[in-house]
């Protein structure tokens, strides 16, 4: 059973120490995502069909909206990861790139001495409940260090991540708007497609073309965000939150949450800590 040792929410986004002993499902976030191995057997991340190792010395960066999933290589044996979900706007000033504010140049991140130190500083500060400004300051340093590295040229190949096209089609924009409005209802994608004036196959094709992920995955992201938000800001029972998001039972909601976030919703609520605005 995967567990969390600590989860902090703050102006930066989210940061978590997850002990993962099972694989997760394919998903995406709007945040910039960084994952570092802290202890336990190595794992790997699948990003758009490519495998990247998560082990001592090797971290992984996932750009906003890049579909990815965690692959547990030794089921049942937990590995501890420091996992960052950084809000692009918080990081904006340091990104120093003309492209998306938090799109990484490359997925693999070499854990340099500096990065290693920051990872352990953050993990330590989260577990010890240190002053929040420390966590925020170190997070900033770690994100910047990783971001800049991902854009440096390396001899093994300078292949930077491709630039996904902007969403230009107004029908897809409309569909995104509809999904956002209806996330707390039982959303049927057929109806969304119709609402956007498209047939179901055409809608799927166009959405993937323009957004880079499937409408289902997009909807899942919205559900995940909504679920996290309600878990940490309300006292509504987990069952209600699941039902409101269109799940038929608490069990199916919990399964969804574990597959997408890593741990159970009740655990998440219990462990989350709010960092003060630094």
């Amino acid at each position: 059973m995967s567990t969390a040792l600590a989860v902090h929410h703050g102006p930066f986004g989210r940061v978590a120490l997850y002990n993962l002993d099972r694989s997760m499902t394919l998903h995406a976030h709007r945040e910039g995502h960084l994952i570092f191995h802290v202890q336990g057997p190595p794992g790997s991340i699948d990003i758009e069909g490519e495998q990247y190792p998560l082990e001592p010395g090797q971290g992984v960066a996932v750009s906003p909206w890049q579909p990815h999933n965690y692959c547990c290589l030794h089921p049942g044996k937990p590995s501890l990861y420091l996992t960052l979900y950084i809000k692009p706007f918080w990081f904006l000033d340091a990104s120093r790139r003309a492209s998306a504010s938090l799109r990484f140049g490359r997925s693999p991140i070499d854990v340099t001495e500096t990065i290693n130190r920051l990872v352990f500083k953050i993990a330590g500060a989260m577990l010890e409940d240190a002053d929040d400004s420390y966590v925020a300051g170190y997070l900033y340093g770690l994100t910047q260090e990783s971001f800049d590295q991902s854009w440096q040229w390396i001899a093994e190949g300078a292949s930077f991540t491709r630039c996904a096209p902007p969403v230009r089609d107004f029908r897809v924009r409309n569909a995104i708007k509809l999904m956002r409005e209806k996330v707390s209802e039982r959303v049927v994608l057929d109806r969304i497609a119709r609402g956007a004036g498209l047939s179901r196959p055409h809608f799927y094709k166009l959405f993937r073309q323009q957004v880079g992920i499937t409408p289902n995955m997009y909807l899942n992201t919205l559900r995940m965000e909504n679920a996290i938000d309600r878990l940490v800001t309300s006292i509504d029972p987990v069952t209600d939150i699941g039902l409101d998001l269109g799940f038929s039972s608490q069990a199916s909601f919990t399964r969804f949450f574990i597959a997408n976030v890593g741990i159970a919703p009740s655990d998440y609520r219990r462990i989350v800590h709010f960092a003060d605005a630094a």
């Binding site: 709007r30 904006l92 000033d93 500096t114 800049d148 440096q152």
Partner: protein, 415 residues
């Protein structure tokens, strides 16, 4: 905007805040205000006077505007030259009571910082004036934190996540450079030497001096050796920022303009110290390089910061950069070659002349050393220096990813 008698008094505030993301912005929620930092991708906010003899004209009105009645003047060896310090003393209006502290060392230590903070409190000062080169400016910035912030200096270091903890409560700081290549006057970074190990950076947008007074006549008596090394430093700032991996178009423009001014005039400023036009050009290059630096530096500064932390070249940072720059340009060529073409065009180099080659030529003409051993470096320290360099924040924006072994090879070649 007050514009007294300066050629220009430049207060610009540009900020490219939210660039569209690949989703064309349609995924973005409205700004949630969750921004911990006051900076943005591109930030130019410093008020700068730049003119011959502007010191006497600008100082009085700027002190008045800052409400400074009791400034603490922090000098380093470049500000303590009789001629320039005399001018400053006379330029301070009679209604203002200034206190002075001169730093004899060439790098900022914790002791110097404590001493400055103590004097500031003792004399009930209300503002800081940094007079000299980057050392004076760094001291003023670190002292400003010491004066207004509780706890150890350590917890405010950039490497300790200190940026988030430096608040906007610092006393006003006015910077007056007396060398051409100073970079600290317009930046929010200060370097400090802790007991052991490399120099540490303190970083915060609140550290940026409120006003800078650039008066080229303050550099007329700068000795040729210092002129050459500070000028080479200015040129290095321009070149490193121009090829750095970040995105900042205004910085690129300034860097190109700065490198042309430095390249074309440094030799003259060194040979004929009283050539005011050459001095003005080199100081302009220094200012350009300093403003452009926010884009990020690279390997030359990663290594020179490291060497400085190990005690080498505290007195001659510029000379070190002159040795390292051609080597780093060569190392970075696979990643940045396209940009070298722009540099060649800006410096009007012939097709046959490489950028590194041109730097080597200039270095010879201004009498700067061509190897680190001439500056007192010793082979035994290089390994340590290479490790520090890999960790230095300037390494992050070097266009080609470099680790400690790359830096060791470069340092050995430079020895």
């Amino acid at each position: 905007m007050q514009s007294r008698r300066s050629i220009f008094s430049f207060t610009s505030c540009q900020s490219v805040s939210r660039l569209p993301d690949w989703a064309g912005g349609c995924f973005e929620e409205p700004a949630d205000g969750g921004v911990a930092q006051a900076m943005s991708l591109i930030t130019y906010v410093t008020r700068i006077h730049f003119a011959d003899h502007v010191l006497e004209h600008a100082l009085e009105s700027e002190l008045e505007a800052l409400g400074a009645k009791r400034p603490l003047v922090l000098c380093d060896r470049d500000g303590a030259r009789d001629l320039v310090l005399g001018r400053l003393t006379l330029a301070i209006p009679r209604s203002v009571r200034a206190h002075y502290l001169t730093l004899t060392e060439t790098r900022v230590t914790r002791e110097a910082c404590d001493k400055a903070a103590e004097l500031y409190r003792e004399q009930a000062c209300d503002s800081l004036i940094a007079f000299g080169s980057a050392t004076a400016c760094d001291l003023a910035k670190v002292a400003a934190i010491r004066i207004t912030h509780e706890g150890t200096l350590c917890s405010y270091l950039g490497s300790e996540g200190g940026m988030a903890r430096i608040r906007n409560v610092l006393p006003p700081l006015l910077a007056i450079p007396t060398v051409a290549g100073a970079g600290a006057d317009v930046s929010g970074v200060a370097m400090i030497a802790m007991e052991e190990g490399p120099n540490h950076a303190v970083i915060s947008p609140h550290l940026i001096p409120r006003v800078v007074i650039c008066d080229p006549t303050l550099t007329l008596d700068l000795p040729p050796k210092r002129t050459a090394s500070t000028g080479m430093d200015a040129l290095t700032h321009c070149m490193e920022t121009f090829i750095s991996s970040a995105f900042n178009p205004p910085a690129d423009g300034m860097a190109l303009d700065g490198m042309r001014r430095a390249f074309g005039n440094l030799e003259r400023a060194v040979a004929y110290g009283d050539d005011l036009e050459a001095r003005r050009e080199v100081m302009a290059a220094g200012l350009n390089g300093a403003l452009a630096q926010q884009k990020g530096l690279g390997g030359v500064h990663a290594m020179s910061n490291a060497l400085c932390g190990l005690g080498l070249g505290q007195s001659d940072h510029g000379a070190i950069t002159g040795v390292l720059l051609p080597l780093v340009l060569e190392f970075n060529a696979p990643a940045a070659e396209a940009r070298y073409e722009d540099i060649r065009r800006e410096l009007a180099l012939s097709q046959a002349t490489g950028v590194g080659q041109a730097i080597v030529g200039l270095r010879e003409r201004v009498g700067l050393p061509d190897c680190l051993s001439a500056l007192g470096a010793d082979a035994a320290t290089l390994e340590q220096a290479a490790c520090f360099a890999a960790r230095d924040h300037a390494n992050r924006t070097n266009p080609r990813k470099a680790d400690a072994s790359d830096y060791l090879a470069l340092l050995q070649e430079a020895l």
